[in-house]
């Protein structure tokens, strides 16, 4: 009986924690990616090259996958050129929602930064 009560309480706590809505967050890497994708459609390695060392090849795809899940970026498979085999490249672009989050985040950071840094 006591065990059932404990399990119910743990379940309730998890449900409450997962149902609480947080405003969208943006990490530094996600911001860099959105900045780069806001102007043009790029694939993973192009993003790494364009970031000038701010993005690493081993983590950019994981970050892109998570951003896709959050709805910040969208992806499409680029058709392979004639006669070329293998997997198609995955091209990424920022979604309108992603751009809104980036703009809101930039404004927030600007407002929260100390006076001398503005």
């Amino acid at each position: 009986m006591a065990l059932t009560a404990v399990l119910r309480y743990v379940r309730f706590s998890i449900d409450v924690a997962s149902s609480t809505r947080h405003p969208p967050r943006l990490s530094d890497k996600e911001r860099v990616i959105l900045e780069l994708l806001s102007t043009e459609e790029l694939y993973g390695l192009e993003l790494v090259a364009a970031s000038r060392g701010r993005l690493k090849r081993g983590t950019v795809y994981v970050t892109l996958g998570r951003m896709e899940q959050k709805g910040y970026v969208s992806a499409r498979s680029e058709p392979s050129p004639e006669g070329a085999g293998g997997l198609p490249r995955r091209m990424y672009s920022a979604t309108p929602y992603g751009i809104r989050v980036m703009n809101a985040w930039s404004t927030l950071l600007q407002h929260l930064s100390p006076e001398h840094a503005r």
Binding site: G44, T59, Y61, V62, L64, R66, G86
Partner: protein, 324 residues
């Protein structure tokens, strides 16, 4: 060619989403890199998969917790509850015959000191009852079976902790029972390292010069050592048996009865085996003690795997789609 082979291997391990979002883009982009060695691409793939797996742990744990109407926490909770109840019941017997000198010791303390040696038996055995009961009225899918094995592995860790605690708890109980703080430790009160050391000391004497008593002692200690290791890993074999029982027609019809029957058969069987082994160790000196220690566990695993093979877990139901 290598990329295709790697993708084929990863397709067996990774989810569809991981393949689409991580593996495929990296392998596809590698084709456009002419000026860098391809091993750098594979290294990036490895790193990406490692980062992705680490970041996915909370999600995976959350899914395991929620899915199938909280089947996994139910198994874990039932294992804990039934193991504790059975362990307390097992400790009742020695407490009934506790010497008069211990009457002044608080009962809770005595139970706590006796619990470890009971828990090493009841914690793995509890899976036999918990799994069929927790999964009743539920289709046994491959995912659920994998998660049950994961719970069994957690039980292995818990049994290891209890097993490491057991010698000290036993010794404390003996000190209380005898009233002598310097009562010498017996084999059950030695830790793994001491037990191994004693076996090695006995085995230093060459086989032809060893007395029969020393040989028997060495074999008994070797048996005790391997039984402990086998008991630590027992949750895996008993978890397999529990899955087999759950998937069997009897387990599906009457899961509680099937679980209770499996549990009731297992514990006396284990005690019987232990008794028979003690006698056989001296009677058949050519049979290595390891065989005696591991055979019961291997028999349990074999029965479990046989039952699972007869009634294998089903694939998860595909989502309902519109009729064409």
């Amino acid at each position: 060619m290598t990329a295709e082979r790697i993708r084929r291997v990863l397709a067996r391990i990774c989810s569809e989403a991981t393949l689409t979002r991580i593996v495929d883009p990296i392998l596809a982009d590698m084709r456009w890199e002419r000026d860098r060695p391809s091993w750098l691409g594979y290294l990036a793939l490895l790193k990406a998969l490692a980062v992705h797996s680490t970041l996915s742990i909370p999600d995976a744990l959350g899914r395991a917790w929620r899915d199938d109407e909280h089947a996994v926490p139910r198994i874990a909770g039932l294992v804990l509850a039934s193991a504790l109840v059975a362990a307390v019941a097992l400790t009742a017997l020695p407490l009934t015959f506790a010497p008069f000198s211990m009457k002044s010791v608080p009962l809770v303390r005595l139970v706590v000191l006796l619990l470890p040696q009971a828990l090493v038996l009841t914690l793995p055995a509890a899976l036999l009852l918990a799994v069929p009961v927790a999964l009743r009225n539920r289709a046994l899918t491959r995912t659920l079976a994998r998660r049950t094995v994961a719970v069994s592995i957690c039980c292995v860790a818990a049994t290891l902790v209890v097993m490491l605690w057991m010698p000290e708890a036993n010794q404390s109980y003996r000190v209380l029972a005898s009233g002598n703080p310097s009562v010498p430790r017996g084999p059950n009160e030695w830790g793994f390292a001491t037990l191994r050391e004693q076996i090695d000391v006995l085995n230093l004497t060459s086989e032809d010069r060893m007395t029969p008593e020393a040989r028997n002692m060495s074999r008994r200690l070797e048996y005790a050592y391997h039984v402990r290791v086998a008991l630590i890993s027992a949750p895996i074999y008993l978890g397999l048996l529990a899955l087999g029982v759950t998937g069997s027609p009897a387990g599906r019809r009457r899961p509680v009865v099937a679980g209770v029957v499996a549990l009731v058969l297992y514990l006396p069987w284990l005690f019987e085996i232990s008794e028979a082994t003690t006698a056989s160790l001296e009677r058949f000196p050519s049979v290595p003690p390891q065989v005696y220690a591991w055979t019961p566990m291997l028999v349990i695993a074999a029965v479990g795997l046989w039952l699972i093979a007869r009634h294998p877990p089903a694939d998860a139901q595909p989502p309902i789609t519109e009729a064409r």
